[in-house]
């Protein structure tokens, strides 16, 4: 199989069921967006994993810089009170 690629990379998001969010599942190479949808269908939904596909050119995704991770995320690390874990939950509430 050829390893030489000139097709751009697309990130694939699949919605497993109606009502759920699209989740990132991986990426495919494709010549255009339509082909990316078809490739995603063949690669990521062949075991009945999804009801909807989104594709996004990988190059169009703006990502945070891993080198800045401390600056971005460190300030939140010691603020555990932002998790709602300090409440007593009444027994009668089952599905919280």
């Amino acid at each position: 199989m050829s390893t030489e690629r000139d097709w751009p990379l697309y990130e694939i998001f699949i919605r497993a069921r109606g009502g759920l969010d699209h989740k990132h599942v991986g990426s495919v190479h494709a010549a255009d967006a339509q082909m990316a949808v078809e490739h995603a269908r063949d690669v990521y939904t062949r075991r009945n994993e999804g009801v909807s596909i989104w594709v996004v050119r990988s190059a169009d995704i703006v990502a945070s810089d891993p080198a800045e991770a401390d600056a971005l995320f460190e300030p939140a690390r010691d603020k555990i009170y932002r998790h709602p874990t300090f409440y007593d939950i009444p027994k009668e509430v089952e599905t919280l």
Binding site: M1, H29, A31, M35, E38, D42, R46
Partner: protein, 262 residues
């Protein structure tokens, strides 16, 4: 003939019905085997999976048709016996299906011409007087719609692509076009099935197929080749030289290890 006659053929019609089912099944099986040859060799991993998915859909269609044909025949042959223990002249697939893979463009053109054909055929067969065949067709139609989308997408991409891709896919079309006349040339069996309401009238189907093909060819900037006088009759068991080798490879294992299981 009434709808009931279409549903339960008497013994005189049964043999013809079995033969017709084998035409459909063999075309799908042989095409599936050809597509399977690409596994591990396609131009990209994603295409590898795409071709294999189509092959598996075709194999599934063939299995349903063989199982039905075997039951109708009543001679104790199951789907495996029909697929693996018949010889070249017993196979009734259209000749186009057995043509070699060639390059990716050859495969894409062969697939496109047959996808468009099978889609027209199965769309009609959903209304067949034979209810079991109609049910099989209803399942196949959904798969065929996707197959055609895939193959026609590639025909357009290659035809309306670079100078080289256009030249090569034009050559593929020239080479494979002569095999398409068999698709629309009705013989006695086709006419018998058509008058029983089991199968479509092929001339009407051909016009619809041609419209579908022309639309895609226009978008791909490809010229439809002229028809050639010579006719192939794979569907009567007279094949090109390529089917024998395909069957030898496909049937080797079950013939050498009879009854082998996973």
């Amino acid at each position: 003939m009434s709808a009931e006659a279409g549903a339960t053929p008497d013994s005189a019609d049964r043999e013809a019905r079995v033969r017709y089912l084998l035409r459909l099944a063999d075309t799908s099986l042989v095409l599936a085997q050809r597509l399977g040859e690409w596994v591990g060799h396609a131009p990209a991993l994603e295409e590898d999976l795409g071709l294999a998915n189509t092959a598996l859909d075709l194999l599934g269609q063939a299995r349903l048709l063989y199982a039905y044909a075997g039951e109708l025949e009543g001679a104790g042959r199951d789907e495996d016996a029909l697929a693996f223990l018949r010889e070249e002249a017993d196979f009734l697939n259209v000749t186009l299906a057995e043509q070699p893979n060639g390059d990716f463009g050859d495969t894409v053109v062969r697939q496109f011409l047959l996808d468009a054909w099978q889609l027209e055929l199965y769309e009609w067969l959903q209304r067949s007087a034979d209810p079991r065949l109609a049910a099989i067709a209803a399942k196949a139609v959904r798969e065929k719609r996707y197959h055609l989308r895939y193959s026609s997408g590639w025909v357009v991409r290659l035809g309306d692509g670079t100078e080289e891709s256009h030249a090569r896919v034009s050559a593929s079309l020239q080479q494979l076009w002569p095999y398409t006349r068999e698709l629309c040339d009705a013989d006695d069996l086709d006419r018998k099935m058509s008058s029983a309401g089991v199968a479509p009238d092929l001339s009407g189907l051909y016009a619809a197929w041609l419209r579908r093909v022309d639309t895609v060819l226009a978008e791909a900037r490809l010229e439809r080749p002229a028809d050639t006088p010579y006719l192939w009759y794979g569907k009567q068991g007279r094949h090109s030289e390529h089917l024998g080798r395909l069957l030898a490879l496909m049937q080797y294992l079950p013939r050498v290890h009879a009854g082998a299981r996973w």
